[in-house]
């Protein structure tokens, strides 16, 4: 499968990445190569195989006790934020 520049622009938008036209062309070429590599997977017969999402078979989710362990540290956490005001993170106005 080869990707066009348009395909790349669609994916980039989905992934929230700005790309210039030149970048899109370049990514179209490298992503096509990667997909070509990936297409080797088509040789295997997987019709009777269950997909595997996790490397340790049989391990199950542990459940946590419902107890409050967190304390308010928002000032510390917000030191990494570019824009905050009155404890809120700020983003450009969202229009619903």
């Amino acid at each position: 499968m080869s990707l066009t520049r348009n395909n790349v622009e669609t994916i980039a938008r989905l992934a929230r990445l700005a790309v210039t036209e030149d970048e899109a062309s370049s990514y179209a070429s490298s992503l096509s190569k990667i997909l070509h590599l990936v297409e080797q997977l088509n040789v295997a017969d997987v019709s009777a195989i269950e997909p595997m999402a996790h490397p340790l078979a049989g391990m199950v989710q542990r459940l946590r006790a419902d107890e409050v362990t967190a304390v308010d540290e928002h000032e510390k956490f917000q030191r990494n934020a570019a824009k905050v005001s009155s404890g809120l993170y700020l983003v450009p106005k969202v229009i619903e």
Partner: protein, 490 residues
């Protein structure tokens, strides 16, 4: 305002609901942050809730148990193995850029809920599934110098999303179904049901089709409806909009819409105009949730009596009308209040059930409404009401005076006996006292007596009134009737 089509009878409305119920856990679904409502912005958002680099989710056991409880209560199958998936999309109130939800293997599938229709018949709404997921934060659109503020306290609050089949055919049915689910989650104590705070809300999928058509029409999803009134209005508006659109030669576009309660309209959501491609895949940070039969059976055994079961029992055991039974079981607290009252009354159970029903649905509800109180805040407790009703049963006071006593109890916070004593309202059941009163009245009203005896039957009421007046309403009415009849007859 859109004109409703004359042709409306030829259209059928099809509605499916996705109800989001916040689970009443102490902490978030994947972190140890508190879920308490109303904290200052971002003070209940820890590293996990903020989606900080490197942090990982660990599942809250109570969220799982509550979802199982719900599943069992709607007769669904509870999955012994369910899987969390990531739903990928970007939004400022979604810190990780994905929502942890369940997709292919939800924890609850194939349930049902019966609703009572206006004609008194019952309809079954199928519940496709209910899955566990995390809530998003909140965007505050008030102007922060041209910015939107993000509060992530709500992010990570556990939700169950309850998805129905498109089985509802009117806004009223949708509201009835939503109310039933609302009642149920509160009975189960898994959701506080507070719609104003957003603990219980729904998205409605609405479409229309010609009556008799097999294929569904294109649907629109109305997001985030958080009052029963809005649901009904939003759906009705949307149905009319779609019919008008089609009849005008247009087609309905599948889209997400928002209900504006001020304008009473729905409008397409601008931020979601792009077709979503959520790229679901199993969350590699979480493992399959495996529940054994012992756990499920333990939860099953702990289920309270459910509203429908309780209503049916009231009808079956106490001959309560179906309507009364459904009103009294509409909330867990109301039904508990009611049952507490009946449990304290002695004597004929059927009679007491009806008496208590009339009082709870009548005086108590009216007083609560008047003072905008919840049943749990009632100024007359179930115990106090039971004492009052006992005084009716043992003929200490008449039903009519009891209402006066109730009002005094409500406003002054006193017991029934104290009010009766204080106001001297105790009923006169001593027949000699009543006889004496009657004799005095007959003696004082010879003309009325003569008229009555000559055939003016209506004057009987005059004599009753006079007796009650001199006894300040305290004479036992049936005794008064009986003795008056004897004496007037001469």
């Amino acid at each position: 305002m859109i004109q409703t089509s004359n042709d409306v009878m030829t259209w059928e409305t099809v509605i499916g609901l996705e109800i989001h119920a916040q689970l009443a856990t102490k902490t978030k679904i994947f972190s140890g942050s508190s879920t308490a409502f109303g904290a200052a912005p971002n003070t209940q958002a820890n590293l996990v809730d903020l989606g900080y680099p490197g942090v990982l989710p660990v599942l809250n056991q109570n969220a799982v148990k509550m979802a199982v409880k719900f599943g069992l209560a709607v007769g669904a199958s509870v999955a012994t193995r369910s899987v969390f998936a990531r739903k990928n999309y970007f939004y400022p109130d979604l810190p990780k850029g994905y929502q942890i939800s369940q997709y292919e293997l939800p924890i609850v599938e194939h349930g049902k809920m019966d609703i009572l229709l206006e004609d008194g018949s019952t309809k079954t709404i199928r519940i496709t599934r209910a899955h566990l997921e995390e809530d998003a934060g909140k965007s505050l659109h008030e102007d922060f110098h041209g910015f939107t503020g993000i509060d992530l306290n709500r992010a990570g609050t556990p939700l169950i999303e309850i998805v129905s089949e498109p089985d509802m055919r009117s806004a009223k049915e949708a509201v009835a179904y939503m109310k039933k689910i609302h009642t149920l989650v509160r009975y189960l104590d898994i959701c506080d049901g507070n719609m104003q705070e957003g603990s219980f809300r729904c998205d409605a999928n609405v479409s229309v089709r010609k009556v008799g058509a097999e294929k569904f029409g294109t649907r629109c999803e109305i997001k985030n409806l958080n009052s029963f009134r809005f649901i009904e209005k939003a759906i009705n508006y949307e149905v009319a909009r779609q019919i008008e659109l089609i009849e005008g030669g247009g087609t309905v576009q599948q889209q997400t819409r928002l209900y504006d309660p001020d304008k009473g309209e729905t409008r397409a959501l601008r931020s979601k105009e792009e077709a979503n491609d959520y790229r679901y895949f199993p969350d590699p940070d979480l493992l399959p949730v495996v529940l054994d039969d012992a756990l499920i059976n333990g939860i099953r055994a702990s289920l309270p009596e459910l509203p429908d079961e309780k209503a049916q029992r009231l009808v079956r055991e106490f001959d309560l009308p179906a309507y009364d039974a459904s009103v009294l079981t509409a909330s867990r607290e109301l039904s508990e209040f009611y049952e507490q009252v009946t449990a304290l009354l002695k004597g004929d159970a059927k009679q007491n059930t009806k008496l208590a029903a009339n009082w709870v649905m009548g005086e108590v509800s009216a007083a609560l409404n008047r003072d905008s109180l919840e049943i749990t805040e009632s100024k007359v407790t179930a115990e106090a009401l039971a004492v009052l009703l006992s005084r009716i049963n043992d003929s200490t006071i008449s039903g009519k005076l009891a209402k006066e006593v109730f009002e005094a109890m409500w406003s002054e916070g006193k017991s029934a006996d104290a009010v009766i004593e204080e106001k001297g309202l105790k009923q006169i059941t001593d027949s000699s006292a009543i006889e004496k009163a009657i004799d005095d009245i007959i003696a004082a009203n010879p003309k009325q007596l003569a008229d009555y005896r000559s055939g003016k039957d209506k004057l009987f009421a005059f004599f009753v009134g006079q007796v009650m007046k001199v006894t300040a309403g305290k004479a036992n009415p049936s005794q008064v009737n009986e003795l008056l009849k004897q004496k007037l007859a001469g």
